[in-house]
């Protein structure tokens, strides 16, 4: 089984420096891409069926295809790597950033070349201190070696790549909020359209891709679309970084073929539940995905299969709910997070989420009533897609509505017994 994304990574050790990275075949993809026309690189990525790894699964080449090309295109054009990893339960980009910074830089150079971007930024969350240090040093090496800056490797193509370290807030990971944050403003999301590809950073054409997406690009260019598709066990190409946290024997992170079934990840890789704990459910891809329960564990972890199963692949970071943890308490924790991290821009989000948190708090403390459940359900509907500026509130509604469905008995017990049975 091939693991292209993590091949060079040994956790706990220093990442490959430029020389070691080159010796392992690094930057060959940049050389190859620069010999091709941007449209030819785009065609390879399109053929590979690479879908965005930030959670939404939008086809990467299609995202790039909306960028205006040619001499008339507005300049400068921008490429941004969204490295603001803050989705609760998610810890995959951190491995790629700390473990192989040159892989990301190489992916960014090729992607920027494909859309003919002039300037690129890595938008990094402030908490990833080690990643910042390692990226700075890798960027300096890449500039010295002529992979960045004017006329890369003697070609016509030039690219400036800067590291931008953010100052907190989950909403910065939303791509239009990220643009405002990068411009030095409050990180409120922007209305779409216009989409960033047309009018993004400082009103110029901008592509925002996630860390894991960009890290796939050099391998696709090097090895080809057919190879990439063959890595996968499903229609979506490539491998995927899957994580598991909670009361399992071996919590961790693994690069596996896209479409590996949930059960296989849970049992073979995470070692199954810890002694004394029973499985009750899981959030498959971070906090903003619908719960998956025991009879759905044979579903393949890929974009389409997870959607058919009524959830989402999201970030591929599973959070396990065990039988000694209160589902109402877990939802209170999740909705507190979303209420706190709402940027405050649109009313259904900031007001609705605070209401939800308050109702859940009451239930958990034993003062809940049956009518609360209907109110929660109606809030979950009102926060669904189409009612808010961005995806934060719809994300918050997912665990809530599926939690109410799967753990209804536990909610009723809180109301009947006027207390949390787990406390």
């Amino acid at each position: 089984m091939e693991t292209p994304l993590t091949n060079n990574i040994s956790p706990g050790k220093e990442p490959a420096d430029l020389r070691q990275y080159e010796n392992a075949g690094g930057y060959a993809a940049v050389r190859k891409a620069l010999r091709l026309a941007p449209a030819e690189v785009m065609a390879i990525v399109e053929e590979s069926n690479l879908r965005g790894r930030g959670g939404a699964g939008f086809p990467t080449a299609k995202k790039w295809s909306f960028v205006p090309m040619g001499d008339d295109a507005p300049r400068p054009k921008y490429l941004i790597c969204n490295a603001d990893e803050m989705e609760p339960g998610t810890f995959k980009d951190r491995l790629l950033l700390e473990g192989d910074p040159h892989q990301l830089i190489e992916g960014m150079i090729i992607s920027a070349y494909t859309v003919q971007a002039d300037v690129a930024y890595i938008f990094l969350r402030w908490a990833y201190k080690l990643a910042a240090e390692r990226l700075e040093s890798a960027l300096a090496e890449a500039y010295r070696q002529g992979y960045l800056g004017k006329n890369i490797l003697g070609s016509e193509y030039s690219l400036e790549l800067h590291l931008h370290v953010s100052a907190g807030r989950y909403i910065c990971g939303e791509e239009t909020a990220l643009l405002n944050a990068l411009e030095g403003k409050r990180a409120n999301p922007r209305a779409k359209p216009p989409y960033p590809q047309v009018s993004g950073l400082w009103g110029k054409p901008t592509v925002v891709n996630s860390v894991e997406t960009l890290c796939n690009v050099p391998h696709i260019v090097n090895r080809g679309a057919a190879w990439f598709k063959n890595l996968s066990r499903s229609a979506d190409g490539g491998t995927k970084l899957y994580g598991v946290s909670g009361r399992v024997k071996k919590p961790g992170l693994w690069e596996l073929p896209m479409g590996t079934p949930i059960r296989e990840i849970l049992e073979e890789h995470a070692g199954g539940m810890q002694g004394g704990y029973r499985f009750r459910g899981l959030l498959p891809g971070g906090a903003s995905t619908n719960f998956v329960v025991a009879d759905q564990l044979d579903v393949a972890m890929d974009f389409d299969s997870m959607q058919v199963a009524g959830s989402r692949l999201g970030t591929g970071a599973m959070i396990i709910l065990d039988d000694k943890t209160c589902p109402v308490g877990m939802l209170l924790n999740l909705e507190h997070f979303f209420a706190q991290e709402s940027c405050g821009w649109c009313t259904p989000c900031w007001s609705g989420l605070s209401w939800i948190e308050q109702i859940l708090q009451g239930l958990e403390e034993g003062s809940g009533q049956s009518s609360d459940l209907e109110r929660l359900q109606s809030h979950a509907r009102l926060l669904g897609p189409g009612h808010t500026f961005c995806a934060l509130a719809p994300g918050a509604a997912e665990p809530l509505q599926s939690g109410l469905k799967h753990f209804g008995d536990d909610f009723h017990r809180h109301i009947r017994e006027k207390r949390c049975p787990w406390r």
Partner: protein
């Protein structure tokens, strides 16, 4: 006024961006690094340097949770309260830390050594529960481990203070 060092550090980042407004957060972080937190004077200094209105910069500063607009202790403890850490024992650790430090969340210990803040997911969920102190991550925490870490910081601070006295 911005110190010479603050000015130099801000200027080193100018070439990253096409205008001064984009430097807002970088400049606020630099001022915070030197002064411990961002005072009203700090807002005024940065606003002047970047040619922004102070009220406008204040709106930006208060949006981001890592810009401190209130004084903090010598060390800032960021305790992860997101879902994986919550499942793995966040509440017990919070109780332990608040008892040990004699403060609630958002408060600073009487000796001004530690400020305790809750924080969203720190990206080490396979080693939950986790926290950061200043720039360092600590994981797989329990009460005993927290005591050792706090003792280590206190010891370092004593040694540093002793060192300073000897130097003088």
């Amino acid at each position: 006024m911005l110190s010479k060092q603050e000015k130099q550090q801000i200027e080193a980042k100018v070439h990253h961006y096409p205008n001064k407004r984009a430097l807002s957060l970088e400049a606020l972080k630099i001022v915070q690094e030197h002064r411990g937190w961002v005072t009203d004077e700090g807002i005024a200094d940065v606003a002047e340097a970047l040619q922004l209105r102070p009220a406008e910069l204040e709106g930006v500063a208060t949006f981001y949770n890592m810009i401190f607009r209130k004084p903090v202790g010598k060390h800032v403890i960021l305790l992860c309260d997101s879902v994986s850490c919550w499942i793995m024992g966040y509440e017990r650790l919070r109780e332990h830390l608040t008892t040990r430090l004699g403060v609630g969340l958002g408060e600073t210990s009487v000796d001004q050594q530690f400020t305790l803040l809750p924080n969203v997911c720190l990206g080490a969920c396979d080693h939950a529960p986790v926290m950061m102190i200043d720039n360092a991550h600590y994981q797989d925490l329990d009460a005993g481990k927290i005591d050792e870490i706090l003792a280590m910081y206190r010891q370092q601070d004593i040694e540093r203070a002793d060192g300073n006295t000897t130097d003088q």
